[in-house]
């Protein structure tokens, strides 16, 4: 009898039945088996099951004490749904902001901003080389009119075009033409 109950205990332990409940069932079974034996009733007659482990599993299962195997983990998709929702909201919000900003400025007069405003220094009267260094910092290119190959640094700038503020538009470099000569 004790061996039968001990087998049941092991099975309940294996099945994860809480210890207190397993002990309660073991005590109940042990008392009943002892009383049945005193009456001349065998364990098989009383329990109708010669396999203690099967009996123990059946009893614990019917009492709802056997842990169900954990279901396989499913990939959670709700975080991705939330992220996608935020992205959609963000894109929508950005589009609305842009549209709102555009409509706010639509009423204003169109202001054509120059690509770049260039101030060409007046170098007339300057020595040729110094004049070139000066304008080279502000303009895209320069030309020497007259006889450039024969010019020297000692010569003086006697003419310049353009002078002062000019607008440099894309694709149109500012070129200064200097006329040098001996002063």
């Amino acid at each position: 009898m004790t061996a039968y109950v001990e087998e049941c205990r092991q099975e309940w332990k294996r099945l994860g039945v809480p210890d207190l409940l397993a002990e309660e069932m073991a005590t109940e079974l042990e008392s009943d088996l002892a009383e049945a034996q005193a009456d001349g009733v065998s364990a098989a007659e009383l329990l109708g099951e010669s396999d203690p482990r099967r009996f123990a599993a059946n009893w614990a299962g019917e009492r709802g004490l056997v842990r169900e195997p954990a279901p396989p983990k499913r990939r959670r998709i709700w975080p991705w749904i939330v992220v996608a929702l935020f992205l959609v909201l963000f894109v929508t919000w950005t589009a609305l902001q842009t549209a709102g900003h555009g409509s706010a400025t639509r009423g204003r007069p169109v202001e054509v901003t120059p690509s770049r405003r260039v101030s060409v220094p007046n170098v007339i009267g300057m020595k040729a080389c110094k004049a070139l260094r000066t304008v080279a910092h502000t303009v895209d290119d320069w030309r020497i009119a007259g006889h450039p190959y024969g010019s020297t640094c000692d010569e003086t700038v006697v003419g310049q075009s353009p002078v002062g503020h000019v607008i440099r538009r894309d694709g149109h470099p500012v070129i200064v033409t200097l006329r040098v000569g001996r002063s």
Partner: protein, 106 residues
């Protein structure tokens, strides 16, 4: 169907007076049900307890550990009443079917 009938028998033997497991087996035998069948009464008692059809309590026993006593709960009494009515209906129908077959065999 037979499993449900055994549940009714168990409720029937504790509806008036609580009993522990082996005592229930004894009462069943005294009333004519000598073989409970495969699996014994303990798993069935476990299910009845889980479903709230029986209530349990412990009582001291002579010299041994306290015994676990079972009694029919209010919902167990209702289940017993409905079950007995259903069983009697079924029993009458089954008896009619079996009576015909017995007459033919005889």
């Amino acid at each position: 169907m037979l499993r449900g009938v055994l549940d009714l028998c168990l409720l029937a033997v504790v509806v008036d007076e609580p009993a522990y497991g082996y005592e229930m087996t004894r009462r069943l035998r005294e009333r004519g049900l000598s073989t409970v069948g495969e699996g014994s009464i303990y798993p069935l008692l476990g299910r009845l307890e889980r479903e709230g059809l029986v209530a349990t309590h412990r009582e001291a026993s002579d010299g041994g550990p306290p015994r676990k006593y079972y009694s029919a709960s209010p919902s167990g009494r209702r289940a017993l009443s409905e079950g007995v009515r259903a069983w009697r209906d079924v029993r009458g129908e089954v008896d009619s079917v079996l009576a015909t077959i017995e007459a033919e065999v005889a």
